[in-house]
Amino acid sequence: MTIFSRLHRASVLVLVVSLLGACAGSNGTAITPEGINDPNEKANRGVHEFNRSLDRAFIRPAGVGYTNFVPDGLEDGITNFALNLEEPKNMVNSLLQGNLRGAGLSLFSFVTNTTLGFGGIIDATRELGIPENDTDFGETLYVWGVGEGNYIELPFLGPSTHRRTAGLVVDLFTNPLSAVFDGRSRFFYLTPAGFASGLSARGRFTDTIDSVLYESADSYAQARLIYLQNRRFKLGDAESSTEIDPFELDTEGF
């Protein structure tokens, strides 16, 4: 191992530890009635404006163009290929969470789609009705009892939390494929496939994403609320108590 890669690993470790520290330290900070923990809102709004102009200038046109010009079959194939490469990461995290069923589903999907699905281009397991097992190290941290931390909007990547961000960094290393692909093949295959599937999602969901980013009164607040609700639901951490009893709400005059 070279000194450079040692330093590189050490700096990643420092980043992850400091993010986890932030998760632990966030318990005392103010939380809104919607359960939003966002003490760095001002800085986050700055990043949001950056992301929005990036989207307007590059990502949206590229995504819409990609979806319109690339034939649907090819577009699906590229997205399937990228998603299949996530399965080893899903499997490792399921194991770390003690979720043997999930680990088995991911292993089965990876083997099946890589062989019967021609290297993952066809999502054979979806055709067979096999449930998806999509997880990440952020979820593993949740299962291990680490707090959510503050809300954070990441440049380029968008809404996240401290816990999820620490997970993203760790997942770069827990993906067993990182060991299989060397730097060059990762650059030529993995990264472009992931990028293309991201563009595809931007293009296909353009009406909905536009309505949040460009048509709502406060796009930052809408994106934050929608992201947090969906993320907590995925983790099984959703609060059911936010509902107002229909018999108790004063509806007089409405």
């Binding site: 919607e34 699906d76 979806r126 998806e132 999602a201 296909r204 969901f205 009406d207 909905t208 994403i209 309505s211 949040v212 048509e215 709502s216 009164a217 406060d218 607040a221 809408q222 609320l225 929608i226 992201y227 609700q229 969906n230 907590r232 639901f233 995925k234 959703a238 059911s240 936010t242 509902e243 107002i244 009893d245 229909p246 018999f247 709400l249 004063d250 509806t251 005059g253 409405f254």
Partner: protein, 195 residues
């Protein structure tokens, strides 16, 4: 991220049938959503134009959801200081905003279907879980909350992959109120051109 689903299914909420007043039970809550699912599937396969689907949506939404609860919830704490006329104007503006915003996305639902999975009692309402299958998408969960507060079984909220329709729209209304410096009439004016 399944935001698109959230919005796509909003279109589905239009097709709730009315049922006669009686005690709300597991079976009647399920029946309500079953009928909804049937009607949604029927409209999807009807081959009607987008425009026809949209107007059907607006009409049926107004008639079959608990619109006064939905409006009161969306206005939030500001509803307490609103006058009677403001509440009425808001209710009307909000309903047509919802119809516009989600109705024009109905086409995303073409070729899809909803299946009722389970019913669960929560306090004095029912939670009905359905699974949505859209073309080329992984199946996802859509939950309806049903009550008979008004004397009829009506749905008063829905969740797409955990995203609460009313909570999300209340935040939007709150942002409109802030933008108008707390002025409710200004918010209602903006709402009429939003969506």
């Amino acid at each position: 991220m399944q935001r698109r689903h959230f919005l796509a299914i909003m279109g589905a909420s239009a097709f709730l049938p009315a049922l006669p007043a009686r005690a709300l039970t597991d079976a009647s809550a399920k029946k309500l959503v079953d009928s909804l699912v049937n009607d949604v599937n029927k409209v999807i396969t009807s081959g009607k134009s987008e425009k026809a689907m949209y107007s059907e949506f607006a009409r049926i939404f107004a008639r079959y959801s608990d619109t006064s609860y939905i409006s009161a919830y969306a206005m939030g704490a500001d509803g307490r200081t609103a006058s009677k006329a403001q509440k009425r104007a808001f209710s009307e503006a909000f309903q047509s905003y919802i119809a516009r915003k989600y109705g024009r996305r109905f086409r995303e639902f073409i070729g899809g279907r909803l299946e009722v999975k389970s019913v669960r009692r929560v306090k004095n309402w029912y939670e009905v879980d359905t699974t949505a299958f859209l073309q080329g998408e992984a199946p996802f969960t859509v939950t309806f909350h049903v009550s008979n507060r008004t004397g009829r079984d009506l749905f008063f909220n829905m969740f797409i992959e955990g995203i609460n329709l009313l909570l999300t729209e209340r935040a939007e209304v709150g942002a409109l109120i802030d933008r108008n410096g707390g002025n409710i009439d200004g918010m209602i004016r903006d709402l009429k051109s939003a969506g």
